[in-house]
Symmetry: C2
Subunit: 499 residues, 2 copies
Amino acid sequence: MPQQQPPSQSQPRRFSPARPCPVEDVPRWDLETDVVVIGFGAAGACAAIEARQAGARVRVLEVASAGGGSASWSGGEVYVGGSGGTSVQRAHGFEDSTEDLAAYLMMAGGPGADGERVHTYAEGAEAHFRWLQDQGVPFKGTYLPGKWIEPTTDDTLLWSGSEQAWPFRDKARPAPRGHTAQFKGWGGGKVLMEKLCAKAAELGAEVHTDSRALTLVLDRAHTVVGVVARMDGVEKFVRAHKGVILCAGGFILNKAMLARFTPGALACNKEVSGGNDDGSGIRMGMAVGGAVTHMDQFFATVPFFPPASLVKGIFINGRGERFINEDAYHGRVAHYVLRQPEGKAWLLVDDAIFGRPVIKPDVTVAAVGETWEEVEAELGLPAGSLVHTVKTFNEQAEAGRDPLFHKAPDWLRPLTQAPFAAISYCSAELEAHAFTLGGLATRPSGEVLDGDGQPIRGLYAAGRSACGLPRWGEGYSSGLSLGDSTFFGRMAGKAAAAA
Amino acid sequence: MPQQQPPSQSQPRRFSPARPCPVEDVPRWDLETDVVVIGFGAAGACAAIEARQAGARVRVLEVASAGGGSASWSGGEVYVGGSGGTSVQRAHGFEDSTEDLAAYLMMAGGPGADGERVHTYAEGAEAHFRWLQDQGVPFKGTYLPGKWIEPTTDDTLLWSGSEQAWPFRDKARPAPRGHTAQFKGWGGGKVLMEKLCAKAAELGAEVHTDSRALTLVLDRAHTVVGVVARMDGVEKFVRAHKGVILCAGGFILNKAMLARFTPGALACNKEVSGGNDDGSGIRMGMAVGGAVTHMDQFFATVPFFPPASLVKGIFINGRGERFINEDAYHGRVAHYVLRQPEGKAWLLVDDAIFGRPVIKPDVTVAAVGETWEEVEAELGLPAGSLVHTVKTFNEQAEAGRDPLFHKAPDWLRPLTQAPFAAISYCSAELEAHAFTLGGLATRPSGEVLDGDGQPIRGLYAAGRSACGLPRWGEGYSSGLSLGDSTFFGRMAGKAAAAA
């Protein structure tokens, strides 16, 4: 018997994420289910778990050959707290309130923060942490003090954002809220996703790997009623009686989308992705009238520390001026670095704090000198500019103050021990890591909203296919994307199952 | 005979811009035409003119009781040049090249500049100016030197952007490119629009005023085939055999859309609009899968001059530091003012240049002193911060240089004549004027693009319903929006007529 033929290469592509398939064009339903989840990453796995537990039949379409998505390449850190504190926060003497968590998340969301989403999350985050444990995700329960990009130990709790930095510390009582799945080194995401994917399968979600969702099926009443997918090379029509949940990630790998929607991210040359953040989930939602928001926003970071001593350095721009409190979250610092005029930024250090950044030891030391005058001259800066900045900083740091940028006293130390150096973070030398934050507008329930703010029947989104809690590059904290994806993935799964 | 009944108030709204009407739901076609133009402002009038001249039947649906749109409330300034210079540029000794115009427009478009659109415009702008004259728009042909927000005379040519300011002047040879319709005072837009609307009507475009487009009609092949509209209170179905052109303006008046897409613009309390920039055109395009881009971007300005002497002042923030070359376009300055930490910004002036801004004379003078130390103390700034900034500026201005911010020598003068003052542009006192720049992604032809960058058949957009040449608040220049709207409105009219 001949094998089923793949579609001819010369034939025009019949289905595109950017165009829905009218239900009238569906020749047959190859598969039927209640809820179709597109993407088996953090959001998709949690959506599948909740939808199954609510009694719905669930099929997951995953384009890769195994589940996990970009989350499985992450550090496995989840930003949770509030409600008096998680068990781990409390065990280590950190109180945390729902109000402080909410206040922090509102600041982290920036000018477009979504109050309803923030408050839903702040109220549920502590219980969500317990839920993750209930799914079998291991958390060692230990606390790692200090300032890290990701823990290199298997500890659980760490400071993972700008909580202790100005202006956040003034408006929300600080607490460490990064909770990392137990794994020695950088790879807790793999543990997290193995547990969540296994749980979804164990509960009876039917997982189809090597299955690419091609487009949504829309009926005449503008309800999403299914999906067209290429499964193991064959085009199939999948009926979703209750709804479709888009959990297909962001679009950092789609350069054409970046150029149109997020040109700022093109300056970043390291994509944070498991390999399938091609924006197809977002495009499928747009095709049926889903609104996209904050598409200009992206997470970016420049891992300029550890060693943490480098945080005691000061960043300057081409005017020899500081521009940020360097103890803010490294991604916030990175956004400020990225927007300095003519792409010029350097970290000034003295001999006492000098070290090569662990993550990128081959940084360019752009200038070295026995005096700051020499460093200024070697960088070609206007005479007196850098020198004035360092002099002012040193005087104030000596007094334990930073009236201009409000760096916390722990990180204040005059830069007085020669030789002095300037480490280049100018655009030519910059290695910045990035993923996208813009996506479909949704309610906390995951319902995708149209241009009028009304839900599109049958359609949900979560994870980076949606615009979630993290929606402002300058406000990002480690663990926010995974926290958002797992929490609101669950809500979307529940809402779709109840439809 | 009873009058036709209006729809019952208790009945749910049947049509929304955010949901297309399937062609199967159209009970009858009340009107038929080739091209439907939604909105009779600058883009719509030019689209109607070209579509008629190409032989297409044209119907224009205008929600107001007369044509003109927001353009008729503007200064009537069009940003044109290139091709050796317009007749007016050349008459006053200004050469202008297509390359310089294109280089400037690429910078003005910011990180998301659209090269194809820019080059199409740069090559056609000079001919477009002649075309506007041919339509009967009067341009006096005189040149007004100096620095203005809008001319208060009836002169034609003026410097209307950042051409002479850093960094633009280094990458594009400066030329004045603002060409204003002849009108004594601020109201050239009314003249411009009277001429363009009259021309469209004269050519046989059927103009329906008091007609609100409710939604697009979409067929099963995903082609836009018509519009549902409320015309004089009655719901009508309008067939468009060749295409629909969305020229319905931006969304500065729609606070819900601003909150979702453009939260930064909520800080501006003066809307630049003719009264109907409700985003309905953009939402209609989104509903059929049209991609929107740069929705976060907006024009904003703070008219801190004239008198032009105030441009010789220096802006400082809450750290007592400068942040912009004050001779840049006022809208660029405004964006820098808007983003200073904690909303703090002041213009420092001395007695020689002091004056009250003509457009808002009741500014708050936040501090006055015989010395800069007194002003610094009165503003509550860190000791020495403002004083160092002024001292450095004064020394360099005395030498005719501004190595930190590159303000042009014409505007450099030390601030040494007591008494000294700080005029507040802090957020509490700020009056900022704004309109939106984000909109539907289009080709230069006006074809609306979907999420994959492919055109949606039968759908075009121009003016502020599209994301055009002006797509970056910091890069705006007066005349860019009208130039873009009239030029690409014409292209959309031609393309739709040729469909």
